[in-house]
Subunit: 282 residues, 2 copies
């Protein structure tokens, strides 16, 4: 792709817009020639609300994001599975050799089987965990992942989840999906990992479930408000680990390739990949 | 295999001996009929010293041990790679989003490419790490592991090791292999994981390297003396994590299958698998 890149191109000369929430561009209406707005973020819930953004919208899908998400999910699942915190935080010289069960005896559920959730689920299955995946519509994943779908199978996906990973997009359907009723469906003491979106969980219901022991620990990488405000109770709860939105970020090297390849498709007259379905919300 | 199992079989009726160090059996000489002693542990350095144990000796190789070692090594490598300790130990509400480089930019070296080291190296490669493996004699591993061998290639294996995993057997050749000279060959700030044997590392040289910053952290699962004595400096060093020999233990369910399969081979007249070469020491 030969391209002229600038933050100040005249709207009437702009074919494609690369965009992230919080950028300087507020009014997309003069960009009548633009064939698409390409988001630099995987999640588009904040962009969908832009009233003048009527151009086709493309989600960020790139190998760097996927690779990092595989690593973060595998690392956090193994951390909780192996009980590493006890050794990392130990202060007294007490030899207490508790060997955890092997991964084939630790069922894990991944909610969301898109590019990121699918990669995380496949990685966990490769490590030996029995993995259940759940998504809005039926998916088929290679390997050993048991795939469930739709609201009527969500309870079955939660019931066995000793460790639960949230990688759903945030939509009106998924907001507060993990509420008090759903948290009660988890096995007692389950661990929740949320590298997806903060608003997938009802904050107050999560704290109540942690206080009662229904949820054993929550490691949260995403929050309703970021940075997480310094007085938010999540910072101070002994069963919450705050991970400051570091699970995965768009990597310039791999993202530039993904964007160039997608634009090249469009210039060749092929449809853009990863177009957002505005009705569906992602 | 039909077998009569007992801790008190008469020596002259005993065909196979299942044994672990510290068991009640001290004198193997009356067991003249025994075709083999099958160790319940993967490491046999303590058994090799039994003067009356002259029967063929078999190391424990079983899927449960291998699976658990894959998990422990992957979990500890990802923990250090992702910098999870900063979030696990944080006490103040400070949002500091430092995203680590992706695994393809984090070279890892595994010393020892036997059943456990080979499985660990392959698992790390699947997760995306550039893996160098090193062993006494040249090995070929499937996938992306770069295999080095012999004393003359040890420096090359250490030089790139941002994270170093020790899974060598303990022999006169490997004792104190990681001494001050070898530790100095690592990149500055390297992390050492030792789920192999404590005596692979010179304890005093390790502490000096940690104090100087040459080694960034050591997570140790094996020690010269176990339980690690309560006054040992490893317990109190801020750059050491003591993991109380929990990386992998022989699992009865899978170990029983491995033992039965090996004995069945012997009863069919086939050679036993995983026989220890006493000259080599493992």
């Amino acid at each position: 792709v030969e391209a002229r890149l600038s933050p100040d191109l005249a709207p009437e000369e702009t074919d494609f817009i690369l965009y992230a929430p919080g950028g300087p561009l507020r009014d997309f209406s003069p960009y009548v020639r633009a064939r698409a707005v390409l988001s630099l973020w995987a999640g588009v819930e904040r962009i969908l609300g832009e009233p003048t953004l009527t151009q086709p919208l493309v989600r960020m899908v790139e190998d760097g994001l996927r690779q990092q998400m595989r690593e973060w999910v595998a690392g956090q699942v193994l951390r909780h599975h192996l009980g590493l915190d006890a050794h990392i935080r130990r202060r007294d010289p007490v030899w207490n050799p508790v060997v955890p069960p092997p991964a084939p005896e630790r069922p894990v559920t991944v909610l969301g089987l898109g590019v990121l959730g699918g990669a995380a689920a496949a990685t966990l299955a490769q490590l030996g965990f029995p993995v259940t995946g759940w998504s809005r519509s039926q998916k088929a994943l290679p390997g050993l992942v048991r795939c469930l779908a739709g609201p009527e199978q969500l309870s079955a996906a939660l019931r066995t989840a000793q460790i639960l990973v949230l990688l759903l997009p945030l939509t009106p359907e998924t907001e507060n999906l993990l509420d008090a009723r759903r948290l009660a469906e988890l096995p007692r003491g389950a661990v929740i990992l949320n590298p997806g979106r903060g608003a997938l969980i009802d904050d107050a219901a999560l704290i109540a479930a942690l206080d009662s022991g229904q949820v054993g620990h929550a490691t949260l990488d995403t929050f309703r408000q970021e940075p997480l405000p310094p007085d938010h109770p999540f910072w101070f709860h002994p069963r919450i680990t705050v991970s400051p939105h570091v699970a995965a970020e768009t990597r310039p090297a791999t993202a530039a390739q993904a964007i160039a390849a997608n634009i090249a498709r469009s210039l060749r007259g092929e449809p853009l990949m990863h177009l957002v379905d505005r009705r569906r919300g992602y």
